[in-house]
Every structure is written in C-alpha cells, then in structure tokens.
Subunit: 360 residues, 2 copies
C-alpha cells in the first residue's frame, strides 16, 4: 500500500514497553504462543517513523494519574506481584515462569460473602486478574507503567495544543477495569489519558474505541459519569467473542452516566461499510454531546488478516474511520490491539493518516 | 495397622464413578498430574471390603434430589458441557482434551453488570467453574451423577433405619455450591444427602465436614437455613489454603441460618489433639441444636502423608473423630478428599470403624 504521510505526528514511546514478554498465554488450559508480543511495538515504531512520524519520549508521571481511574489495590498488586511471585518460590520451586491464577472469586464461589484478599499469592492472583491469558513476568510492570506514561504524555501534548498525538502503548489497556485486569491489558491507558485530559481542562471528553473487542475496562471506569463518554464498536460478545460477559448494546451507563455509554456489537464478518456506519454513529453521539477532546482506543484487530477477530475491515476503512473521528476535535490516539505483524504497521499508519486528514 | 472390622457396614458404590478421568489439573497455568484419580476409589473399595464392609449398588434417583440444592442451570451445564465441547471442536480443532475455562466473571470483570450466559462454550465455562483444576472430560458426567446417586442411596438406607451408611462418592462434592463447581467437585454429594434426609422426615440435619479443606459449597447451599447445620474444621484459608476466599470463622450463616454455620480454621501443622478438640466443638454444636441425622463429609486429606494439606492427623485421630461423631445419631458418611493412595484405605476404614464404635 502507499505509505501515508505522517510528517509531524508525535509518536510517544518508551523502550520499556518492550520489557513485557508474556511468552505466551493459557487458553483453555493449554499454554500456547500468544499474539501480544514485543514485536508488535517494534513493527509499529518502524512503520510510523518510516512514514515520517516523530518519536517523542514518554515522560514519567506520578501515580496520581493511575489512581484517578484505578483502585490503589490494583496498582499496588501489579507493581508488586512479580517480586512476590519470585519470593514465593513459584518460579524456583514450582516452575511457574509467569503469573497465572488458578482460582477466581466469581459470584459462584463467593456466594454473597465479601471479597477478600487471600494471604497466598497464588490464591490472591485471581482477585485481580479475570482470565488465564494475561500473564505477568519479569519486566511486565516496567512496560505497563511505561505504557501509561506514554498515554499521559500524549494527553499532555494534546492538552498543550497539539491536535493529534499517538501513544504507542504496549501492553494495551482497554480491558483493564477499576480493580481488575485481563484480556492482555493491565492498566487502562486510554482511560488514564481521558481522565488526564479532564484534569487539564477539557470539560467533556469522549473515548471512541475501534478495537475489535469491547473495552470493558474503559466502560466500567466511566460507567457512572456524564463527563466522559465511552462508545465502542466491536465483534458481538453475544456471538461468542471476548469479553463474553460484557459489551452488549443494553449497557448504556448508569446514574449520571446514563446515556454516556454506547456499545455497537457487530456480527462476525462485518466489513468496511457497516463498520464505518457504526463509527459514524459514535461520532454522532460525540457531536451531539460535545467533546473538548477525544481519545481513540486504536486497535486494528478488526482487520481481515488479524488472528484475533472475525471482522473484515481494510486499511482504507481505518483511514476513513480516522477521518471521521479526526473531525471531532483534538485527538489522543492510544494503541490497543492488532496482532497481524505483517499488516499491523500499515493499518495503524492508515488510521493515523485519516486522523490527520480529518482535522478541521 | 490393624484392619478395623467393618462387618455389616454398607458401602454404597457405582462403577460409573471410575469413568471420570480428569487426567490432570491446571495449576497456575501448567497442566500437571492431578491427585483426584480413579485409583482413589478402587483403593477404598478394596480396603473397605477387605475389612468386612458390604458393597451396595447405588440406585438411580431423579434429578429432583439434585435440584433441591443446585440451580437447574448448573445441573444442565454439567450434563451437557462435554458434548458441547466435542461438538464445538475444542478437542478436534483446538486439542483441548478436557474442559478448562479461560475467562471468569469475577466482580472485577462484571463491575456490577448482571451475570450472563455467554454464547460460546469456552466463554460460558467460567460462569460455572471457578478454577482451572476441576476438569471435565468424557465420562465425567456419568461419574458425577453416580456419585450423587451413591450419596442418595446411603441417605435412603439411613432414613430406613440403618445407623451408618457410607457413600463411596467420586468425584467428591463439598466445594460445589448452588450454582458453580470447583476444587475437584461438581455436584455436592453431602448436601444432596442432607437435603434428602430432610425430605425423608429428619427435622434437623447436621453436616460435619472433616475434610482438610473448607466445604465452601455446602456452606453456601445451607447458609440461610436453620434446619441444616454446617460445621467444618479445615486448614485456615487465611494461612494460604484453598478455597482462599471462603472458610473463615466469621462466616456464621445469615437470616434464619444465623448461627447454624461454624468454621474452625486450623493452623498448618495441626495434629490430632487440636484437630479432635475442633471436632468436639462441632459435635457440641450438634448436640446443642439437635440433629435427627448427621452427614459426615469424610475427607481424610488432613492426614500427615496427604499431599493436599499441611495438617498432621493420624489414623487413630480419624478413628476417634468417628467415635465422637457416631455418638450423635444416625450417620451418612460421604467420601470427600484424601489423596495419598498407600494410606487412603486405612484412614477411611479407621474413620468408619470409629463411627461404628460411636453408635450409642
């Protein structure tokens, strides 16, 4: 494909994002090669700089920005779990080279009793992680923290007047909720950026999530709030797709946030036309509600070649989505999913070029 | 050890209980050899018949007896999941030879949204199973159902006047709650038996759980009821043991069931004296409250040689526990855990001989 011109686009990045090496995932009891690999970031970095974008270092931010959207207990857990895992002998004694929980405090286990923080590291892990595919190992926390800093730095740029900034976040974030992580996500980079934009003076912020999967974490974080809209189009969880339990169209927010949450589940096989129609629905919401800044959860795993979803979006579809969203106002684009290494760079470049085009 | 005489003791058994072959368990992401193996049942059968006990066939019972303590949705799931797994290609296409969930609807995932039944078998599995170590394969349902029939048949015998009947249930049951399974348990054989005794005219029933682990499922099933007492002594979940989230001394029942639930968590390393003191506390509860029949959740994994707990109970301790409990009234003994194959038969025989001795 033609390389889109991304001259002047800031790509916020930290080399620490490469330090997270989950080395696989456990799916239905079997350890298999995962798709959320460090090469995703190097491929993206290469493609975007090749198209003229400028790399900007992620700057450290205080934990306050994380704690504005996540429970302190989750942040503490993520920062400490690997050291606890090593100290507990799970590597040396039991040969578990990554943190994977084995018991999960579902309603069927708790049966109405209050949630606890079990004493044993291996029992506690499932309180914070709701699946077996989101592994923690050496270097994970440094990458998780760096990805949040990248999102925050991009938000700083936009708050300072840059019309579009892209945060090359890895690991991704939109499945991470207030108090739990999963879906290859740990901290919610997009939510952290959206909240930071609010703190920088944006009265209303919209998060538009075009990743192929529902951003259950972002939804949960802002579900009761009117000041931060969340809209997502994604493969229908009711058709059998992750996150299975959340992401349905009936979820419209609650309390003051009623109406500020919109899910548009799409049938497997959906291609550009219907997908772009859904993008436009979300853009219509944002125009109607008003937004001083927009955060795009930029996953490109809705692409036809992607192994993680059955959607059939093309690079041109991503470009056109970018144009629609870019017209809404200043944009922080935060990298979410996208796992087909050969096409990944071109897809993100296409979306970003559309966002640049769309600026009014 | 001296073989205790078990002449006349009915051992209720179904050969179908051997058909459950989990072929391992997934602990912290790694498939390892499990301890809940069919050989447990054959070892027990051999030891008990060798000591003079009489094998009695488990008789089929209607599902009503299961549905009296379990949600219909759980029973339906357990009966259908293996066929769904095969039909879904999880074996043929993905090489998953046993049902193991990968995503779990914890409070951190649901974030206050209502529980759903996801369309995809692999997504729905975690609604009903709260861990990765309780596998389902071909033959599992037949064994699960047969174990429940064994417990029900033993309850029938006691309701008809037999002072002591033993159900050789495999798989075990006390971790299975109203709507979810885990901890190598699927249906709650002891709870099913206790409820059946109520239906047969026992006004008050007591369940005494001497398995090394807390019977969170039994507790949950009867937590709001005054007519069925639940008392358990077990290795302290607060010291790092399964089921981690439940089994604390503060859990005393609720509503009409307030006070009819008692947990006595024991420190790792606890031996006969303190363990028997705890058994006596539960027996005191039962004497005080009155019980027309007693169900013993007879796990022997508190034994020193057992790989699944750090307690240090001896065969003589089990015999003495049996004497204490046997003095309370008619007893249905239901097999729960116990995983050290060389000592397993002797430990259960010791407990049963004590129960026979204890009869007043």
């Amino acid at each position: 494909m033609t390389t889109p011109g991304l001259a002047g686009l800031p790509v916020v990045w930290s080399g620490d994002c490469l330090r997270h090496e989950p080395a696989g995932e456990v799916w239905l009891g079997v350890w298999e090669q995962g798709t959320e690999v460090p090469e995703r970031a190097t491929v993206l970095l290469s493609a975007l700089t090749g198209a003229g974008a400028t790399v900007t270092d992620a700057r450290p931010h205080a934990d306050d920005a994380l704690l504005a959207v996540h429970d302190a207990e989750l942040v503490e857990h993520l920062s400490a779990i690997w050291a606890q895992w090593e100290a507990g002998g799970y590597v040396s004694e039991y040969g578990r080279t990554r943190v994977v929980p084995y018991v999960f405090p579902t309603p069927g286990l708790l049966c109405g009793l209050p949630m606890r923080s079990p004493a044993a590291t291996h029992g506690r892990a499932g309180k914070f992680c709701y699946d077996t595919m989101t592994l923690v190992g050496p270097g994970s926390w440094e990458a998780i923290r760096a990805a949040a800093d990248a999102a925050l730095t991009a938000a700083d740029l936009v708050a300072a007047g840059t019309p579009l900034a892209y945060a090359l976040c890895r690991p991704p974030g939109h499945h991470a909720g207030p108090a739990a992580y999963g879906g290859s996500c740990y901290l919610n980079n997009a939510a952290i950026a959206a909240q930071a934009l609010r703190g920088s003076g944006a009265g209303r912020v919209a998060v538009i999530d075009i990743d192929a999967h529902h951003g259950n974490g972002t939804q949960a974080i802002f579900y009761e709030r009117a000041d931060i809209y969340y809209g997502s189009l994604h493969v229908d969880p009711g058709a059998g797709w992750f996150p299975h339990y959340v992401g349905y169209s009936s979820e419209r927010g609650t309390g003051e946030g009623t109406g500020a949450n919109r899910n548009l589940p799409l049938a497997p096989g959906t291609g550009d036309d219907a997908w772009l129609d859904a993008v436009e629905v979300l853009c219509g919401d944002v125009r109607e509600r008003g937004a001083d800044a927009v955060v795009v959860s930029l996953g490109v795993d809705a692409a036809a070649a992607d192994p993680e979803s059955p959607l059939q979006v093309t690079a041109d579809g991503y470009r056109r989505a970018g144009q629609l969203i870019g017209a809404l106002g200043p944009v922080v684009a935060v990298q979410e999913g996208g796992y087909d290494l050969p096409s990944l760079g071109g897809l993100v470049a296409a979306a970003l070029s559309g966002l640049l085009d769309g600026r009014t």
